[in-house]
């Protein structure tokens, strides 16, 4: 036991450039997902987040056809879909499900076409796997500025709009009575959600990006009754799960069955789920609790 850290961090972990890129891009994406996720859950928009992630498959698969970074595709279609959902009427509870369902169906239809073309016309193998389940170790350093820029936009929406967002999430009538433009606030929040799932789609894939959006937030609001703390805690949990998932995935290159390594997305989602279960078991009913 000369080097206890060596048991956790396999040799070459920190020197590896793909690992560095994965840690930076994955960490930023996780922070955004956790923070935006707190408001996604608070506003009851988990389904919208799920749909936006599904729709980003469309852009992700199309981006391989035209040879740009999938992040452009994820974010582009996500923000566009957010706008369409707002137009159709995401504000009313019934219209919300309807709008989300319609946009999601249309997006997935296109995704089916683009993925088919990806598989038959390009020579990139495994596009479907990359788009659906993510591929953090193939993130190029060149994408990191874009990751940072989109993160600033998404975090900016939540931090700048924090109070109006919170008040309109509690009750839109209260917000309207204070002169808050609730529709604009709702659209901004939806765009932040679209950006958050686009960013985490890059690391853990479109299918699982909502796990990073909803899971840490659900855990955080078991642990604290303060909205600010819940938001920050969700971000921390998401970052911790992502970094730990990357470490374990790197370690897993020496694991059975084939010494090929296990996917990062599996570890991240498993860690988030385990964290949620722990919080459920450990926490007393937070509704009864006083927090000064």
């Amino acid at each position: 036991m000369s080097d206890p850290l060596g048991l956790i961090f396999a040799p070459g972990f920190f020197e590896s450039s793909p690992v560095q890129a994965a840690l930076i891009a994955g960490g930023i994406a996780a922070l955004v997902s956790g923070v935006v996720g707190a408001f996604t859950v608070l506003r009851g928009q988990s389904y919208a987040g799920h749909a936006l992630a599904d729709i980003s498959v469309t852009g992700g698969s199309a981006s391989f056809l035209i040879g740009i970074s999938p992040l452009w595709g994820f974010a582009g279609t996500g923000v566009f879909a957010a706008g369409v959902m707002d137009m159709i009427g995401v504000r009313k509870p019934r219209g919300r499900d309807l709008a989300t369902g319609i946009v999601r169906g249309a997006g997935l239809g296109l995704a089916a076409l683009f993925l088919y073309w990806d598989a038959t016309t390009t020579n990139t193998s495994g596009v479907a796997i990359t788009v659906l389940f993510g591929s953090p170790f193939t993130i190029s350093n060149g994408v990191i500025p874009l990751v940072a820029a989109l993160s600033i936009v998404a975090l900016g929406i939540v931090l700048v709009g924090y109070r109006p967002l919170l008040l309109s999430s509690v009750n839109s009538d209260l917000a309207v009575a204070r002169g808050i433009p609730v529709r604009l606030v709702g659209l901004a929040c939806l765009i932040a959600i679209a950006l958050a799932v686009a960013l985490s789609a890059l690391t853990i894939g479109t299918i699982l990006s909502t796990a990073l959006l909803v899971g840490p937030a659900a855990t955080a609001l078991r642990l604290t009754s303060r909205p600010g703390w819940a938001t920050a805690l969700a971000g921390l949990i998401a970052v911790a799960a992502t970094w730990l998932g990357i470490v374990l995935a790197y370690d897993s290159f020496t694991w059975p069955p084939k010494h090929h390594g296990w996917p990062v997305s599996f570890f991240v989602v498993a860690l988030i789920f385990a964290g949620y279960l722990l919080a459920q078991l450990a926490g007393r009913d937070p509704g009864r609790r006083q927090e000064r």
Partner: protein, 304 residues
């Protein structure tokens, strides 16, 4: 300190028919008409609220109470008429209005404490995250204490009982120091005891915080002991004035357009529909007391 009732009594006693709105009127609704989808949902509503008055907005579901509150909040445009808040337009007067909506729906697992919601009443429309401030915390504490909500200040709003939630909502509305407090059916879904407590609380804050209260309800009875005046609505029209001058068979019959009886049972007032027989709508009423407010044009419940 003069009680709101005393103040109201004084104002109605000394100004039977003088012109010009008194400068103390916090709210003036002057001939408000609202059309929605070609239908007139509010017709020629006229009344006003003096400073510190406690007024009940009474009527059954669909009478137009919520629409009227939305008009006062500036959320519903008028087809005709005018509404002013302390002499300002509804948009400019918004800061002077505190609002308690009908019901908030927040799950018990949502991380928003009572004190967070009250704090949002202070600065919920501002951008940026709220910085920890001793002054802000002290204001929130003071307001929580004023509505007897300090015991559950740290609990999640979604886990509170209906009466407790109403207290928090009242604190949320009051902390920005409004001159007019609008409450949309705050007594609905409350048990009798909680309803009494909320009414007592509203009467107290109306006096202590110098705020006029306009409270909508479908049952006037719990409010009878504290109401200075009443605005009684039916089918988009309203009769207003001192309670005893409005809640009368002849006045309400004209408002409803059909015969109703007002029955007094042990201090409780019941408004019951007549049989339809012997429908007599007084053509030339001598109920000048049912004016909107002293100093205003005579209000007529019946447009004809």
């Amino acid at each position: 300190m003069i009680s709101p009732r005393a103040r109201a009594a004084a104002s109605s006693a000394n100004s039977p028919a003088t012109d010009s709105r008194s400068s103390t009127d916090v709210l003036v609704v002057d001939g408000a008409c609202v059309r929605l989808g070609g239908r007139e949902v509010l017709h020629d509503i006229r009344f006003s609220l003096g400073s510190g008055q406690f007024v009940g907005l009474i009527g059954s579901n669909g009478a137009g109470k919520t629409t009227l509150l939305r008009v006062i909040l500036g959320l519903q445009a008028l087809a005709a008429g005018h509404v002013s808040i302390a002499g300002l337009s509804t948009a400019a007067g918004r800061k002077l209005v505190g609002y308690v909506p009908q019901k908030i729906q927040l799950d018990a697992d949502m991380p928003v404490r009572a004190r967070d919601l009250v704090g949002l009443g202070l600065d919920g429309n501002r951008l940026g995250i709220p910085l920890p401030s001793r002054r802000r915390a002290a204001l929130v504490d003071e307001m929580l204490a004023a509505v007897d909500a300090d015991k559950f200040a740290g609990r999640r709003v979604g886990s509170l009982s209906g009466g407790e939630q109403q207290r928090v909502m009242i604190a949320h509305a009051l902390i920005s120091k409004p001159r007019l407090l609008l409450l949309d059916e705050p007594l609905a879904n409350l048990d009798i005891r909680s309803a009494q407590e909320i009414i007592a609380l509203l009467a107290k804050v109306s006096t202590q915080h110098q705020v006029s209260v306009l409270i909508s309800a479908h049952d006037m009875n719990p409010l009878l002991p504290v109401m200075d005046r009443i605005v009684y609505m039916a089918a988009g029209q309203a009769a207003s004035g001192p309670t005893e001058q409005v809640v009368r068979g002849d006045v309400l019959s004209r408002l409803y357009g059909s015969h109703v009886d007002v029955i007094n049972v042990h201090g409780r007032v019941l408004v019951v529909a007549g049989t339809g027989e012997g429908l007599e709508v007084p053509a030339e009423p001598d109920d000048a007391g049912v004016s909107v407010d002293p100093g205003h044009d005579l209000h007529q419940a019946d447009p004809s």
